[in-house]
Amino acid sequence: MVAYYDEMKDRAGIKPAYADVAEWAKATTAEDLRLRQNEAEGLFRRNGITFAVYGEGGDPERLIPFDLMPRVFSSSEWDVIERGSIQRARALNAFLTDVYGKREFIKAGKIPARLVEGNPAYEPIMQGIQPVGDIFSHIIGVDLVRTGPDEFNVLEDNCRTPSGISYVLQNREVMQRIMPSMFRSGQVRPVDHYGDMLAAAMQSVAPDDCDGRPTLAILTPGHYNSAYFEHSFLADIMGIELVEGQDLFVENDMLFMRTIRGPERIHVLYRRIDDAFLDPEAFNPDSMLGVPGLMRAYAAGGVTIVNAPGAGVADDKATYVYVPEMIRFFLGEEPILPNVETWQCADESECKYVLDNLSELVVKEVHGSGGYGMLIGPKSTKAEIEKFEGLIKANPGNYIAQPTLALSTVPSLSEEGLAPRHVDLRPFVISGKGKTELIPGGLTRVALREGSLVVNSSQGGGVKDTWVLRGDRL
């Protein structure tokens, strides 16, 4: 039996950061906890914070389960996460600038060229394009796991269109309603300036020919998209338009939206649709979601796209292993947050190790996401392991493997009252011209099924409010 790190208490007892929460939980009856939990879910439902799981049928507007026990970080714990995430985001943007520019990282032999050019997320059309401020990925979600008091590891980077920030802000909103006494001391650092921070970053990367206040907009695939709530939420908190492809057109290498007053120019477009659908002229010709000519306007500097097309080349699981080296190469620093040890099946000797130790490892598809297409060795049957053995042998380049991590736990409300459940964390790093920052908080995902290590919402995961304290206790 592996010993999991309990974030609320260690050998010395309840940690100071959790003292008040633990006391509160103790003084609150199971019945009352459940009532508050129901109240929280009612609030989410009323606000329409739902998500869809594709291809599973059922209610198209499902609630993501919310757990009312917060996850708490002391300021010193947060300091590491903050500095480490910012460092990572700076390195990833430097890498992208280099990939689509001088290619020094490849030339120095730090990463094989084939891993870059052969990557499906690599966009040749971006070659030679220099985004304003050298920022490709303005919003990066850094997925972190914790295995001990000081052991934080980066599990994955999300450089395309990471989602989940709306839950961060709404979770806090709900917590302040159902647990107001915990906030009275003013020790929990607020997170609701996210919209201002993002808007400022977007304004800072407006095209050079923009004089005056840049017009910002969010491009959504529409209200049937599973993340539509988040798109509209972001538009709302930034006070900018939420546009669809049908609202937009390109003229003279500039992007315009159709308004009741006629065409209005958009300077910075935060797109929440995939690269392939952005512009039927440049990518998927069948796309109805994008804007014909958008890439032309982008290349001509008439509009800034947030995040830039082709940014996915930096967050791929095959690229992931090179991030620590990017940090050393571009920033001349040592990584603050280490990677998780990773074996690449593309490498023959590493592949052999993986095949010999399948029952101990987690195997993932290089381009997969959402917790699908993965094997968790210790939790799998013999048949499942054999199936993966076949898959890996057939296409080794498509797989990586990592040790099964002893993810930390935070007490969560279960059928039997409070019980430890595994968690991860996704802080959102925002990069503008000359400034990289993040709000004190992030998305804590929790595997609500007992013993489960998979936190994805599509696999029974839920969310928690994440508290960053001003000091070491509430």
Partner: protein, 337 residues
């Protein structure tokens, strides 16, 4: 503001107003049904209620035999009828969801909760005992929605298009209500002030939420010209045609004219408003109440169509504001006593 947003807000608002109007009509039907003598008069109220709701076509065959149950089903629950209360709340909510970024969370919460509450309702929720509860819940939902708009939305284009939708829908509904019941209002020398007419006028006023207003304004007995005055030319009654058109013109002025086509819209609205400013109840009745109202229904319909075109709305089917339907109202004789 995006044209698509303007369109979504406008329709969201129209649909809520339509649900409210349907609820009022059902309430009027229920009241008239219970009037002494109603049965002897052939119980023609439910067919006329359906026509007043602009749902003659969607109701289909057997309009003459429509009773409370059939009318209630069609106007409240029938999902095949895009103007039923359920369909309206659903459409309003879908528009709101698509425009989530353009409305406040309070407005969204109001319409989203309404849909959550109504989506599961069936005929079982409108049995004898709970009929009025149902009506009141519809009205209360509409009020909550309007209240949220009023207290939380910026006074900008979004609010103006919402107001436009409400008043265009309301002008249409009030004109239809009067037109369907115009035969009751027509002076009949031998029957003036007779029991049933008086009671029916009262119900019309109730359906327009104007019975109390009537007493405040006129402090006299209900009469046809006074009913017409209150629901057509009175500038203070919130459901009169005049009031709706004043609001339509104010909101169009706020939105502003940016193109030639938009100028045409403003002109149509002003023309109708000016007609209402100068009209009086007696001259309307002399001209022919039905003809006058038909003109107004057609003009309102034209306004709605040109509005959509000139502000760049995508086409959206509005089943009940057609000229054909206005002609329907003129066939009222088939179901009049």
């Amino acid at each position: 503001m995006l044209s698509r947003t303007a369109q979504g807000l406008y329709w969201m608002s129209r649909y809520v107003e339509r649900a409210e109007n349907n609820a009022r009509l059902l309430d009027a039907g229920r009241r008239i049904e219970g009037l002494p003598g109603a049965e002897a008069a052939g119980n023609t109220e439910w067919p006329s209620i359906i026509i007043a709701a602009g749902c003659r076509e969607t109701f289909g065959e057997g309009l003459e035999e429509a009773d409370r149950e059939k009318a209630t089903y069609h106007l409240a629950f029938d999902q095949e009828n895009s103007s039923s209360i359920l369909s309206c709340f659903h459409a309003a909510r879908e528009n709101a969801r698509a425009m989530r970024g353009a409305i406040t969370s309070e407005v969204w919460t109001a319409i989203n909760s309404t849909w959550a509450e109504f989506r599961t309702k069936t005929m079982a929720d409108v049995d004898e005992r709970r009929y009025v509860d149902f009506i009141e819940t519809v009205l209360a939902s509409s009020f909550t929605f309007r209240g949220a708009i009023n207290s939380t939305l910026l006074r900008d284009e979004r609010q103006w298009f919402i107001e436009l939708g409400k008043h265009i829908e309301r002008a249409d509904a009030t004109a239809r209500l009067l037109d369907v019941k115009y035969h009751v209002l027509l002076p009949k020398a031998d029957e003036v002030g007779a029991g049933l007419d008086l009671l029916q006028w009262q119900q019309i006023l109730r359906a327009a939420n104007a019975l109390r207003a009537f007493r405040h304004v006129y402090r006299e007995q209900i009469s046809a010209p006074r009913v017409v005055d209150l629901l057509v030319v009175n500038s203070q009654s919130p459901r009169s045609l005049r009031y709706s058109y004043e609001a339509i013109c104010d909101n169009l002025d706020n939105i502003g004219v940016h193109t030639k086509a938009q100028r045409v819209v403003a002109d149509i609205a002003r023309e109708n408003r000016d007609k209402l400013r100068t009209a009086d109840a007696h001259s309307i009745i002399d001209y022919g109440l039905h003809e006058w109202l038909t003109d107004m229904i057609v003009a309102t319909n034209e306004l709605a169509n040109t509005l959509g075109e000139s502000y760049g709305f995508f086409s959206q089917v509005d089943r009940d504001a057609t000229e054909e339907d206005a002609a329907d109202a003129s066939n009222i004789e088939v179901c009049a006593p």
